[in-house]
């Protein structure tokens, strides 16, 4: 390694953005449209759904028939590169705690993976402490963010319906798709016991909104990224691509950020990174640095940016960087709907995801847990994939096939009949709730472990809160009622109890982590001010899930987008005023 040296990029940028997902993509989009010179650093390769295609592939086009690998944990056709584990980039856990950390490495980041669920936070979601005395209020409220939610709705496109619900605000919606057959059955069963079911709110274009993107072609494969029409939102096609087309953005791929560089005045001056292809060290310099590497990666970068001036890590005089880490809670249940056995075949792929969902309907004052959850649903025909017909004995040993009770398992023509009979009858649901953000749940730098690039890695220390477990219990009770009321038979997730936290997923598993770089008015208890700007370092910003004080029972992407847009406009403003 005698030839190791730091290569400095001579260009001085207006902004250096680390990460190209929802937050970074939006910042690159807004700043480049305003004429600022942007350098966008991404730890993975270039990616464009039009060139990197898995959409409309048949199951036999994957030699493993769509089964998952460590490269694609959600199956061989999923668009996202990497997931729970990346070769050469470990993370560790304190004691026997659990945390599952999803990391996407590609242009567009995790927006290549998510379910396009695009929910606004409601007015209550920004002010939870004022309501239940737990956690903290945000330094901003719904009225501060609403104009940006509106702009994001128009820019990116989202379908849904205006229901006039107090904490699930109306938006500027495209028309939602009609419910599928099993969804009509779920709706009937759930509303019959007082649980609301309304159209989903997904960032998928059921109508064309501009000339660079088309209309949904209803293949149900948003998780593969839309190569045909760019009709689903992913940061790569909807934000990074138009940002690059302005000519104001230099994208550096395969660049793993090492540190935020600072000068004697304590200002951020740029980013040092290692190029994963040539393993050389590089630096890029800029007027502002915007972190959007994901809640935990951004915290890791700050904690690893130690200097004489910032011995506790950059922007960490409060000592809360990495703290308040929380994910959505999650618990699931699945089964079969005998009413759907032997059903007529037709194409019900629809959009990628459920056409309906249940927003939180409960009154937490009357419950033994303080925060709510929403319910997502699935079922029906799906493209056959690896696992098709698995454990058929659990079905054909239990349910009659065309009036005939068979022995469990079997083979031959009789088995082929069973496969046709049971296909398309599955149904299931998942709760996604708000976990309480507490200071004790955190990620920090492991003092002994580095990754293959020599960058100190994160050690996670997160335990589910008692309230999260009570919420999971409530989810399970609710799911059982809905399943029972629709005549469905539970085949998994029905036997959970206090011994396994009622099936509550390990934290991190729902892939909605937030809170590690939180905003607030008090620099002693928060990292950022209400403009996503570091209290300690005015030209440093963070625009991913890190700034979230709490994350509501809503998927956080739409709020990341709105806050990143808001912070980017603030940066432009402050530059005009010469404050930055």
């Amino acid at each position: 390694m005698g030839d190791l040296q730091v290569k400095k990029n001579a260009k001085q940028y207006d902004a250096i953005i680390v990460g190209s997902g929802a937050g970074g993509g939006m910042a690159a989009y807004v700043l480049s449209q305003a004429g600022l010179k942007v350098c966008l650093i991404e730890a993975g390769p270039m990616y464009d759904p039009r060139k990197n295609v898995t959409q409309f592939k048949n199951p036999w086009e994957s030699p493993r028939r769509g089964a998952s690998t460590k490269f694609r944990p959600f199956g061989d056709f999923d668009a996202c590169y990497w997931g729970w584990e990346i070769d050469g980039e470990p993370y560790t856990h304190a004691n026997d705690t659990k945390w599952e950390w999803w990391r996407a490495r590609m242009i567009g980041g995790r927006t290549n993976h998510w379910g396009r669920i695009s929910l606004r936070f409601g007015p209550k979601d920004f002010k939870r402490r004022s309501i239940d005395g737990m956690g903290d209020d945000w330094p901003i409220g719904y009225d501060d963010v609403k104009p940006y939610y509106d702009k994001v709705d128009r820019l990116i496109g989202v379908f849904g319906s205006n229901e006039g619900l107090e904490n699930d605000p109306d938006g500027i919606f495209l028309p939602p798709p009609k419910p599928r057959l099993h969804e009509l059955m779920i709706k009937k069963a759930a509303t019959g016991i007082g649980i609301p079911v309304i159209p989903s709110r997904l960032s998928i274009l059921t109508k064309k909104i501009n000339d660079s993107r088309g209309e949904c072609i209803f293949c149900g494969q948003c998780n593969r990224a839309c190569s045909v029409a760019y009709a689903d939102f992913s940061s790569s096609s909807v934000l990074v691509k138009p940002a690059m087309e302005t000519g104001n953005v230099d994208v550096i791929t395969n660049a793993m950020a090492r540190e935020v560089l600072t000068n004697n005045e304590g200002l951020a001056t740029g980013i040092s990174y290692v190029n994963k292809m040539d393993l050389q060290e590089y630096q890029v310099m800029g007027r502002t640095v915007i972190l959007a590497a994901s809640a935990c990666e951004s915290a890791r970068l700050l904690l690893n940016s130690k200097s004489a001036r910032y011995p506790n890590g950059l922007a960490n005089s409060s000592d809360v960087v990495g703290k308040y880490l929380h994910d959505s809670t999650g618990a699931d249940m699945g089964g079969v709907l005998p009413e759907l056995f032997d059903r007529k075949r037709y194409n019900e792929d629809g959009v990628g995801g459920a056409h309906i969902y249940t927003p939180w309907w409960g009154d937490n004052k009357k419950l033994d847990f303080p925060r709510g959850y929403h319910i997502e649903y699935w079922g029906g025909f799906g493209q056959p994939a690896y696992g098709f017909g698995n454990s058929v004995q659990a079905l054909n040993g239990r349910f009659e096939v065309k009036g005939q009770q068979k022995e469990p398992g079997g083979y031959g023509k009789s088995l082929k009949e069973d496969m046709r009979y049971f296909y398309g009858a599955r149904v299931g649901m998942a709760g996604r709730g708000e976990a309480l953000a507490v200071k004790e749940n955190k990620c920090e730098i492991d003092p002994k472990v580095v990754d293959k690039y020599g960058i100190p890695v994160l050690r996670f220390d997160v335990k589910p809160h008692e309230y999260d477990i009570k919420q999971a219990k409530h989810m399970k009770e609710t799911f059982k009622e809905i399943m029972h009321n629709m005549g469905a038979i539970i085949t998994y997730g029905g036997d959970d109890d206090e011994k396994n936290n009622y099936g509550l997923h390990a934290p991190g598993n729902i892939i909605h982590e937030a809170g590690t770089v939180r905003m607030g008015n008090d620099p002693r208890s928060s990292v950022l001010n209400k403009h996503n700007q570091a209290h300690d370092c005015k030209n440093l910003f963070c625009v991913d899930g890190g700034p979230f004080v709490s994350q509501a029972d809503k998927n956080i992407t739409w709020t990341i987008l709105a806050l990143s847009m808001r912070a980017s406009e603030y940066i432009i403003d402050e530059m005009k005023k010469r404050n930055l």
Binding site: W60, T69, E85, P176, I217, F218, G397, Y411, G412
Partner: protein, 233 residues
């Protein structure tokens, strides 16, 4: 493939299995030396690391010719040709099983050992290997391992279904269940199987809701609100 080579294949596979299985461990075990042979042609997007892994998989052979012949007979017993579609071997299910045990090395020992269990059972009963038996003899063994007893909860009570199985058949039953799972996975994800089961999607279209005759069949209808607010094409 000789025995030494196949043992090596297991060793390599097991190493990568620890990476696959323990998703949260921090060990950073490198996959063993990569095969030099060219990978299969992919029509779908692959990252660089995946291409390397595919090369490694396709450069190796796991099952012996005798094992592959046994897998083929079993797969065709599980999914034979009928009036609607072809058989498992028509759909190249044995090739899929060869691939998948290299991709999921934790299935290698259960498959290899299960096939051997079957042959030993066949030797005991008929003094020849399973594939040398005539179809009636093969079914004689299969009928003893094809029907696992199942236990599930209904209204809080445990229910048992299926005939009591012979204790000495337990390992054979476990093997046959795995073989059946792999066979249905392979068959119903093939062109023949997808057509058989009648999956009608994976094609550009416009969703206008559940067909009217189906709504009628289930006594369902869209509400006025849905008719008004939902997308129409």
């Amino acid at each position: 493939m000789d025995r030494r080579k196949s043992l090596k294949a297991i060793a390599v596979g097991t190493l990568s299995a620890s990476v696959l299985l323990d998703a949260c461990k921090t060990d950073n075990k490198k996959e063993a030396a990569k095969g030099a042979e060219s990978a299969g042609e992919f029509t779908l997007d692959r990252a660089v690391e995946e291409q390397e892994r595919e090369k490694e998989i396709t450069s190796k052979t796991f099952f012996t010719p005798h094992e592959m012949a046994t897998i083929t007979v079993l797969a065709d017993i599980i999914i034979p040709k009928d009036e609607i579609s072809g058989s498992a071997s028509d759909a190249k299910v044995p090739d899929f099983i060869e691939y998948i045990v290299k991709d999921m090395p934790e299935k290698q020992i259960p498959m290899r050992g299960g096939l051997r269990w079957l042959d030993v059972q066949s030797l005991k009963r008929f003094n020849k290997s399973f594939i040398e038996c005539d179809p009636a003899q093969q079914i004689n063994i299969v009928d003893d391992i094809a029907y696992p007893q199942i236990v599930y909860k209904e209204n809080g009570k445990e229910v048992t279904k299926g005939k009591k199985t012979k204790p000495e058949m337990a390992q054979g039953i476990a093997f046959f269940s795995l073989m059946r799972d792999l066979t249905t996975s392979g068959f119903y994800t093939s062109q023949i199987g997808v057509k058989d089961v009648g999956y009608a999607g994976n094609t550009p279209n416009k969703w206008n809701g559940v067909p009217d005759d189906v709504l009628k069949q289930y006594g369902l209808a869209y509400t006025e609100k849905e008719m008004k607010e939902c997308a129409k094409y």
